[in-house]
């Protein structure tokens, strides 16, 4: 199918295009500079914003943890029901929607690529099954490797190159895209009912420290030339005063970066930017974090912005989720995944009248507004932990408009309003910066060369929003932008129009990206490893890897490693 998108205001930061009125040509699923076909559909995008399709670097949408969240919350389903249409399947769920509903809702907002950030290797098959049932969007998933027994052993023994070969094999076996690290060491300690206190607190039995795990996997990441950096959920997440752990985490790999390239991604940083000592003496640590990021080039991060709603927390951070359960008294799922990781799920309501929640709301926005380089901080809500992904347009509203922030602030806890830094921040994101925070920056950090831009050769994943930037001021009429970003006028995926006027008009299967590393040495799964599978796992080794045929549309990303 060929398309001519005419006269839109194009925002394509990777190619430096800032609201220029221009045409975009699409053919064969790609952006082209000339149409060969005589027949093409014309989309009149006059008075509309044209951006690359949205890219989401961190959103829990598939796998056993997400599904346990669905099972835990029938009341989340009852309040949000999608009826079947001629084109779309039915679905349920507000904070943890079913897979089909997830795909449709992302597409309706103009998003076309979503990364599932947390996958225990044991449950890779389940994760991929759910991803394959998530229509329209392209996707990938990150295996949890920061508490993985084999990794811990290799790093303890200083065997970085062997570790790299092993990780390459794990990415192949799980069809994963990036190295995910959650509370490094803490998840293994949770198997003993414990946690780690800081990045130098050794893990029981293995005697490696979180610092060694982070540094080791950072080196592995570099040796393998993986497209994304290590993706890190810090130790002490959710604990007052943890901003110091976050600073230490970023510092500990400072020497491993080369040039301007990032070597670590701190995810949902809001939860890791708490200052203070307890829930009363509780403040934002965003300023300190932002200061560090502004003076260093090796870090990217995403917000993890809080939304005031009834949502569901779910992470691999077993000990942290236990604390949440104790704090709220809410129902709780706790999981120790065999030898691999832990997880926990607890429903959670963020309340405007709560001092702590109000400060948390400020933290996410402070990070986005104080970090000067928009290529370093991205828009997420750590769906569904801080809020459902359907709230992204609301977050855009807060970023582009001080007035929008003030309106929300006026309803928040008084003490928070009077003591926080956010009310005094004037900065408002331009639409160019919004395009970076929601597409270009995320795609670049992920190393997805064909995504997040509208240059020739890029994937024809495009979002068109019906709001005229020349006529409607974002600062004052932010609600027009929130509305427009909630309901894309057009969403185009691989050159096909999948959404018109906020409704799904065509369903297709997206691609599953994963990394295929070519190494110089052959990686042989040792007899020792196979024996340990038999001893310690419930799955036989031969059944463990996910075969490529398991994915509906497999899209391997080839990389050449140094080992």
């Amino acid at each position: 199918m060929a398309l001519l998108i005419r006269n839109g205001y194009v925002y394509d930061p990777m190619n430096g295009i800032d609201g220029e009125k221009m045409d975009i040509l699409v053919e064969g699923g790609k952006i082209v500079d000339k149409l060969k076909s005589a027949e093409y559909e014309v989309i009149d995008a006059s008075g509309m914003i044209v951006m690359p399709g949205g890219v989401d670097i961190h959103s829990h949408i598939a796998g056993s943890e997400v599904n346990a969240g669905r099972l835990l919350r029938p009341e989340d389903h009852a309040k949000d029901v999608e009826l079947k249409t001629e084109i779309t399947r039915s679905g349920v769920g507000y904070s943890v929607p079913s897979t089909f509903t997830t795909g449709y809702r992302y597409a309706k907002m103009g998003y076309t690529t979503v990364m599932n950030p947390s996958m225990p290797p044991l449950e890779a098959k389940h994760t991929h099954e759910e991803l394959c049932d998530t229509p329209i969007i392209d996707k990938a998933t990150y295996p949890l490797l920061g508490d993985w027994w084999f990794v811990l052993e290799y790093l303890r023994d200083g065997k970085i190159e062997e570790c790299a070969l092993h990780v390459a094999w794990m990415l192949y076996a799980t069809k994963g895209y990036a190295i995910k690290i959650v509370n490094p060491g803490g998840l293994e300690a949770w198997g003993f009912g414990r946690n780690v206190r800081d990045i130098d607190d050794p893990v029981p039995y293995f005697n490696v420290t979180p610092r060694e795990i982070i540094r080791g996997l950072c080196k592995v990441n570099k040796l393998l030339h993986l497209p994304h950096t290590i993706h890190v959920h810090t130790n002490n997440l959710g604990k007052p005063g943890n901003y110091e752990t976050t600073l230490q985490t970023m510092k500990c790999v400072e020497d491993l970066s080369s040039g301007d390239k990032p070597c670590i991604h701190i995810t949902h940083c809001q939860f890791s930017a708490f200052k203070g000592v307890d829930w009363r003496e509780f403040y934002s640590g965003a300023e300190d974090i932002a200061k560090y990021v502004n003076f260093h080039k090796h870090v990217t991060m995403d917000m993890g912005q809080v939304i005031f709603t009834d949502t569901t927390t779910m992470t691999a951070d077993g000990p942290f989720q236990y604390i949440l359960h104790e704090l709220t008294g809410n129902k709780w799922v706790n999981h120790d995944v065999e030898t691999e990781t832990s997880s926990g799920i607890v429903p959670f309501r963020y309340r405007r009248r709560s001092y702590v929640h109000s400060i948390q709301w400020c933290i996410g926005l402070e990070l986005a507004l104080l970090i000067r380089n928009p290529w370093r901080i991205f828009l997420t809500t750590d769906h569904p932990n801080a809020g459902p992904f359907t709230s992204y347009p609301q977050v855009i509203g807060w970023l582009i408009s001080r007035k929008a922030r003030e309106e929300t602030l006026s309803k928040l806890n008084k003490r928070a309003r009077e003591t926080a830094l956010l009310p005094s921040i004037d900065r408002e994101y331009s639409l160019y910066e919004v395009a970076i925070a929601t597409r270009a920056g995320q795609a670049r950090a992920l190393g997805l060369k064909d995504k997040g831009h509208l240059g020739v050769g890029g994937d024809a994943d495009i979002a068109i929003y019906d709001v005229d930037p020349r006529k409607i001021g974002p600062s004052t009429q932010y609600d027009e932008y929130v509305k427009a970003f909630s309901k894309a006028a057009y969403t185009i995926k691989e050159g096909e129009i999948v959404v018109r006027n906020g409704e799904v008009v065509k369903v297709l299967d997206g691609k599953t990206y994963w990394v295929k590393v070519s190494s110089n040495s052959e990686y042989e799964v040792s007899e020792d490893m196979k024996r340990r599978f038999t001893e310690y796992w419930t799955v036989q080794f031969d059944n463990y890897p996910v075969s490529e045929a398991y994915l509906k549309r497999s899209k391997p990303v080839q990389v050449e490693s140094e080992v």
């Binding site: 835990l72 919350r73 029938p74 009341e75 989340d76 009852a78 008294g329 809410n330 129902k331």
Partner: protein
């Protein structure tokens, strides 16, 4: 089937007959399933819907009702009076599970038996009945008043297990016997049991013997063993159990205020 009584009062007979209802997953018209007529059948509560027959497969009768009256001669299906805000429902017969679920106000009176989850919250939700009254003359099954926050439930017959589970407030009275585990995980509220309980949960602590207890506007004569719990939740709920009908609980008396030693 959702029918909203206050909508009825503004409709003509032919409009009522043509109301859309679901039979399974198919849409039908009310007249295809029921005989409907109008007449001067008013009652002190105002606009009244009289229903006669076997409605055991008709769900959500009186859902979200806010005023007026429904009188049903026969059996009512599940979710009777769910999320009711006001008005009065009377059933001369049995009713299914989820009677008065998530009720906010009004009154439901069932002369027969009811099922599980009377006055309970939606599955998985912690937001239960907030107000109103449910009176059951017959028996109830399990989890009566689960997650209740306010209002009154009276079951004159017997109940199953887990009566008043997760209660945060409100009052439940049981005229007959229970199958045990009463008040599990309750944090506040009051449960009064006039009949026999097989045993108490170990996380309930005896506080006193009370001669009578207030249930809604009434005073109900005891004597009652009064327990607080559920201690596993640091609960301050109160569980009153008839002393005379539970002689096997006499052993708890030794945990009352210490006997003066001479």
């Amino acid at each position: 089937m959702h029918n909203s009584r206050h909508t009825f009062s503004t409709l003509s007979l032919s409009e009522i007959l043509n109301l859309e209802v679901h039979e399974g997953n198919r849409k039908r018209k009310l007249k295809e399933l029921f005989e409907v007529s109008t007449g001067p059948y008013t009652s002190p509560e105002g606009f009244t819907i009289w229903m006669k027959g076997d409605f055991s497969k008709v769900r959500y009768i009186g859902y979200g009702m806010s005023t007026g009256k429904i009188v049903l001669e026969g059996v009512a299906g599940m979710h009777l009076g769910e999320e009711m805000k006001g008005g009065f429902i009377q059933v001369y017969g049995d009713a299914g599970s989820w009677v008065g679920s998530m009720m906010q106000g009004g009154r439901i009176e069932v002369f027969g038996d009811v099922g599980d989850y009377t006055g309970a919250a939606y599955r998985g939700s912690g937001r239960g009945m907030r107000g109103g009254e449910i009176i059951v003359h017959g028996n109830a099954l399990n989890e009566t008043g689960c997650y209740m926050r306010g209002g009154l439930i009276k079951v004159y017959g017997s109940v199953g297990q887990f009566t008043g589970m997760h209660m945060h407030g409100g009052t439940i009275m049981v005229g007959g016997e229970t199958e045990g585990r009463d008040g599990a995980e309750m944090t506040k509220g009051k449960i009064v049991i006039l009949g026999r309980v097989p045993s108490l949960l170990p996380t309930f602590k005896i506080e006193a013997i009370k001669p009578r207890v207030k249930v809604g506007e009434e005073r109900v004569e005891g004597p009652f063993y009064m327990f607080t719990g559920d201690l596993a939740e640091n609960g301050e709920g109160k569980l009153y159990v008839s002393k005379n009908n539970n002689p096997h609980l006499k052993e708890f008396e030794k945990y009352l205020s210490p006997v003066k030693v001479r």
